[in-house]
Symmetry: C2
Subunit: 454 residues, 2 copies
Amino acid sequence: MEVFERSFEDSLAIFKQLLQHKKMTRFRNEYLALHTYDQAKLFNHFEAQERALVYQYLSPDEIAEIFDDMENENFDLSKEYFLEMESMYAATVLAKMYADNAVDVLNHIEDRDKIAIFLHLMPKEAASELSQLMNYIEDSAGSIMTTELVMVQENFTVKEAYDYIKTCAVDAETIYYAYVVDEDRILKGVISLRDLILKEDLTPIKEIENTRVISVQVSDDKLEVAKMVRDYNLLALPVVGFDHKLLGIITVDDVLDVMQEEADSDYSGLAAVDVNETHKSPLSASKSRLPWLITLLFLGMGTASLISQFEGLISIAPVLSIFVTLITGTAGNAGTQSLAVAVRKLTNRSEDDPFFESFGFEMLTGVITGIVMGLTIALVAGIWKQNLLLGVIIGVAMACAIVVANIAGALIPKVMLKFGFDPAVASGPFISTLSDLTSVFIYFTIASLFLSYL
Amino acid sequence: MEVFERSFEDSLAIFKQLLQHKKMTRFRNEYLALHTYDQAKLFNHFEAQERALVYQYLSPDEIAEIFDDMENENFDLSKEYFLEMESMYAATVLAKMYADNAVDVLNHIEDRDKIAIFLHLMPKEAASELSQLMNYIEDSAGSIMTTELVMVQENFTVKEAYDYIKTCAVDAETIYYAYVVDEDRILKGVISLRDLILKEDLTPIKEIENTRVISVQVSDDKLEVAKMVRDYNLLALPVVGFDHKLLGIITVDDVLDVMQEEADSDYSGLAAVDVNETHKSPLSASKSRLPWLITLLFLGMGTASLISQFEGLISIAPVLSIFVTLITGTAGNAGTQSLAVAVRKLTNRSEDDPFFESFGFEMLTGVITGIVMGLTIALVAGIWKQNLLLGVIIGVAMACAIVVANIAGALIPKVMLKFGFDPAVASGPFISTLSDLTSVFIYFTIASLFLSYL
């Protein structure tokens, strides 16, 4: 995997030196010869005064290309770059970038005056395009689409379409699909460059276009868009407005980023932590993790005060306390399993299962796993403590606790979705802490019933 | 999102009826007019006797196109399809499919004789290609690459290359990149179709090829490949052998599948369950979940027997038992956070942090969160139970337990990776169960020290 001919650290050191010694020509030659991704990666490692030099050495066009290749996750970072540039330079870079990326940057700038200045300083056409795109709500198809696409008319011939595509090749984000529209810009069909080069020059587009074109609405969720691109193996997907007019396209590279984001956010939810945390210090990492831990601690206090109600029971039969963590832990694990299955089903699948089907399925799964686990622990505990009744109490309690945890795990994500929340936020720690409460209640209630026989 | 003009259920019912009434022509017309993904989706819902008819109505070419569009996750399923077809038909379909997909199917067939029959019955060229690809180890770049690519020689002109690409347009998996090789098939450069159509006909390829071509080795991990495609925004990535000869390409649609698989597997690990389980019955779901639960139960037995050692302590001070689940739960949550951050760092980032840097980082984060959580619970418990010493014991125990859990969470994935395991298998339930043990030990040890003052 030879990307840099030297190691990244060596390259970085060399470029930093070239900047320090103001070797503009050598810097330009060597830096611009790299892949833009590597240029971006190096750029992110330059210090402020080094970047100030880069803005002098490279044209807005060249900088725009680098920024287009930066990862989405870094837009928060690249916002700073625009604020440190001269405003005219920044505005020109933004105008040269792909519209979806430029909008992403602008959306991260809090200072509304600064945004207005950038929009004033750039060419009118670019400004109106960007301000229009900025209206689309977060996480919608509109928010990740680009307007730089290839549109052809139905009355074009293959040759005309091909020649037209040639003129778009520099600006369009992809030229491998051309979208066929009528005079009102209503999406009629699609034709791939691959199909185009196989056909005779004079064939009318109308004859060869694929009219079963798959499109999404501008307000559709970006995750739905990602699923369609994945399922239909597309390189780009057209976005239409409510009037069926073609507004833009979403390309596969943006879909890769959406999938990555979604996977990270699901994973973060399950662990109650932002896994993309790029904290500079343990202090800031702690700051972001503590709210979760404290919330869960207070939820857990519910369990503690419940146990406290049974303090009398424990002092009579302290042997009961040995199995508390085992029962709560096992039910928590079972609940996490059922929760994880439910969340990923909601994220990955295009259709949802009927509500009560998955409810019944998880309940039955809970009953089966509950019986097996209950029997196992009843035997183990009964033999270990030489007390069959104790074994039975623990076994029954564990079985019931597992059933309840399984049902809760399956239902909570669905309920959250129904109320408009991201189901992935229903975290594993959350379900374990909740199921601690029910498990303890079940366990001690059953134990109290049999106390006289213990 | 208009894909089917009717709902999926309606379409399915109609096609099932067409098959039942043996309406071959209407079936062909309507079915083949759909996007292949939708054909595949419908096909997966046909019963065995309906599929038998489809194999008569559709040519191996048409079936091959459908199967090429099926999701990777379904290959286990589609294996069955090949076993129910006539062998000659199956072999022809396999030969017509993209090589990477055909290999995926063959790799799922356990009956080695059946594989040999398929390979015998198909054209020699296809058979030798497939049997070669089958040698690549699982999860390597070789296992997901396809050999249907466009290769051009350095001495071609733009016009020659363009005409050659045209002849490949039907078979190649992508024609949007052409790879430049010398007479020994050594990879020299790459040229995109986009660049090609912008250049003059007589320009030599040598002049316009991009020689800084990014490639991977055939044995590289497919996850590394996915990261490169994502980072460099590529539509395809060339795969070379150890002798630098060009062997194949990996296209972005396969990368989407790899990313999906990886996200699912990380998520599954964290929850100790296979989130892609497509079990038909609660019984089979239970069967796949129980091994995890039972393993964790026996790990949890360690904690139970440790508590059992302290039974005397509990019978003297039963108030201690109230806070056991709170301390183990909180430490488990903190450990899960630190584990999740560590796992996703290993999965997402191209470079790994130095071992001891992340160790120190997580330890310090543990110390800070531990102190805050310890103080909080010390106050809450001390006031609630009107016992300052009890509060201090619980607070100190929780702080220590969190530090230990944080360190374990950060280290376990790294240690697993060092020993060649997938770090994602280090699940949340696993770390919580482990940290239960250390937390209980810390808590009761501290409590015993202060017993006389309680």
